[in-house]
């Protein structure tokens, strides 16, 4: 990731991050520099660092915002392990991510590889695959609800036309795959663009040289294409993982039931429900901290993998 982020501006070899570049402010300009940075510093101190510390502090309390907060010690963290509702949410998030992340990476890579071939109508295909990434998940989830409907849905209608039994797509048994499918559908566009950028950057000579040496198409794909786009694959996996652990919109729209419940509660859903339905801000904070720790841990793991396996030219 870092290589990819820095890659954009890597024209000074001695200074890959451009960390030494720039003008020195003269006299009174130091004040202006501070002023230009002031909103960002405020956001960093209050919006980010302050919020993390506040969430951490809140996680050790029981607070409904109406009565004064009580010190709760570690009880909110204990209930992360003992509360069956949260365990279910955490399991759902992990299962969801385990299917969603490889799904997005593989499907969007496939679409990008197909679109990278010399074909007609590339712009039209690209637009169609990108459309869900432009539009709001709320609006498209409304249609998906109509498509997944048990008695009135389009999908079951098509199944019946093929002589199959209708399926309850949003019932507990199938809901995960129904939701993962929609989330992947919504994310293909972005992944496709990332991979297309990576694919078009591979020099044509490589393929020509390999063909001269007698490599066939499969060999060229696995020995040239895949190794050379490992940065894009890595990057896309990272983004998909971050998105998977924060996935909310489609899940909220497709799985909510009466009383603010869900047939597929995930961690973000649980955070929202605990804070704003149950007024358990302390418990919700502990869940948010756990979510953040999982994401941070995964990021660390990915960066370790990057150093081992990702090839930057």
């Amino acid at each position: 990731m870092i290589g990819m982020l820095a890659g954009q501006a890597r024209q000074h070899t001695r200074d890959p991050w451009n960390m030494l570049y720039g003008l020195r402010p003269l006299g009174r300009e130091k004040f202006w520099v501070f002023l230009l940075l002031a909103p960002t510093i405020f956001g960093l101190v209050v919006g980010a660092i302050g919020s993390v510390i506040a969430t951490l502090a809140l996680s050790f309390t029981n607070w409904d915002l109406l009565t004064p907060p009580n010190w709760a010690g570690l009880s909110n963290y204990v209930s992360l392990f003992t509360n069956p509702a949260f365990s279910k949410a955490l399991t759902n998030t992990i299962k969801f991510s385990a299917v969603y992340v490889p799904g997005v990476v593989v499907v969007s890579l496939l679409v990008a590889v197909l679109l990278n071939r010399p074909i007609r109508g590339r712009a039209l295909f690209r637009t169609l695959f990108f459309l869900p990434a432009v539009t709001s998940a709320v609006a498209t989830a409304l249609v998906w609800n109509m498509i997944y409907g048990k008695d009135t849905g389009l999908l079951n209608y098509l199944l019946e036309q093929l002589g199959m039994q209708p399926v309850c797509w949003l019932c507990t048994k199938n809901v995960m795959f129904a939701v993962v499918l929609v989330n992947i559908w919504g994310a293909i566009g972005e992944g496709m663009i990332i991979f297309l950028a990576g694919l078009t950057a591979i020099p044509r000579d490589y393929y020509e040289a390999a063909t001269v040496d007698g490599a066939n198409g499969t060999q060229r794909f696995f020995r040239i294409t895949i190794p050379l786009i490992t940065p894009s694959i890595f990057f896309q996996t990272l983004i998909a993982t971050i998105n998977a652990f924060q996935a909310y919109d489609y899940i909220y729209m497709l799985t909510r039931r009466g009383q603010g419940d869900s047939s597929f509660p995930v961690v973000v859903f649980s955070i929202y429900r605990n804070a704003w339905n149950f007024f358990n801000y302390g418990g919700a904070s502990a869940q948010a901290i756990e979510l953040a720790l999982i994401v941070v841990f995964l990021m660390g793991f990915y960066l370790w993998l990057e150093r081992r396996y990702v090839v930057y030219e």
Binding site: P39, A54, L114, I119, S136, A139, I188, W276
Partner: protein, 279 residues
């Protein structure tokens, strides 16, 4: 000959997969458009072309109960203000990070980059408590104000673009006696129009499509955004209602972004490729 045959087969597979995939991508949109023109009595019919077609669903959006124009206005105002805030404060910081040397610059920049990975759920609860303390829940301010305190994504995107502006421009302006503020506003900002456009599109899109934050800060209809409004009406509809009207609302709600996308596809796609990260 054999090679030629292989190419034809590969082409066939490519087109079959792409056309099949494109059909899956497009069906929900076609269904949305189709349903929004159907009579409410025909809302579950499985024909793609509405028969008879009607515009009445769009008319009903203006009814008192739904008050769609109010939702649209709210979304537009919030997204517009968020975009202005981000363009201004992110470009200010990005300019400093790209063109000015000062102590702690690298430390500050790395801290900012770290917040890129911070899940917004971690900051949501204390921000909510802060805005509740300030008695701002139920107003648009909790959605707008944070856009005016910068952001890692926008700052990073613009800094990367600013770094491509040749150093000579900076030195020449300095020799002519330009101040840092003048260099920022007169040289860097005009030259960075493509990156600013990409950031504007992303930011507007993110704010327009956001569900979680308006759900927390503006939970009740009609004083809320399109996303929360549509989600609310869907729940009402489940107790026997007109999905045709809901689809008309959904269609209108995605129309502005689709229009922007068609006119600014280049910025959209380059922006993603430039940074690879949304939000």
């Amino acid at each position: 000959m054999n090679k030629h045959k292989r190419k034809i087969i590969l082409d066939l597979i490519t087109y079959a997969l792409l056309i099949g995939g494109a059909a899956i991508m497009a069906t929900p949109f076609l269904w949305m458009v189709s349903t929004s023109f159907k009579l409410p009595a025909n809302q579950y019919t499985k024909t793609l072309l509405p028969d008879p077609a009607t515009l009445s669903n769009f008319g009903e959006l203006f009814g008192v109960q739904i008050n769609f124009p109010q939702l649209f206005y709210n979304s537009f105002l919030i997204s517009g203000m968020v975009t202005i805030g981000q363009l201004l404060t992110c470009s200010m910081a990005a300019f400093v990070f790209a063109a000015v040397r000062f102590r702690y610059r690298n430390l500050l920049f790395i801290l900012l980059l770290i917040t890129l990975t911070l899940p917004s759920q971690v900051t949501l609860i204390p921000n909510f408590i802060l805005f509740r303390y300030l008695r701002l829940i139920g107003t648009k301010l909790p959605l707008i104000l944070p856009a005016f305190w910068g952001g890692a994504f926008g700052t990073f995107l613009l800094r990367q673009y600013f770094l491509t502006i040749p150093r000579d421009f900076l030195d020449a302006a300095r020799v002519d006696g330009a101040s840092l503020l003048q260099i920022y506003w007169r040289i860097y900002m005009p030259l960075a129009k493509p990156a600013l456009a990409a950031l504007a599109i992303f930011t507007f899109q993110g704010a327009w499509n956001d569900l979680l934050h308006p759900l927390v800060y503006l939970p009740s209809v009609p004083n809320t955004t399109l996303t929360v409004g549509l989600a609310f009406f869907q729940q009402q509809m489940i107790q026997g209602g007109k999905f045709t009207v809901l689809m008309a609302g959904a269609l209108i709600s995605i129309l502005p972004l689709i229009l922007v996308f068609f006119f600014a596809q280049k910025q959209f796609i380059e922006g993603i490729a430039l940074s690879g990260i949304k939000r």
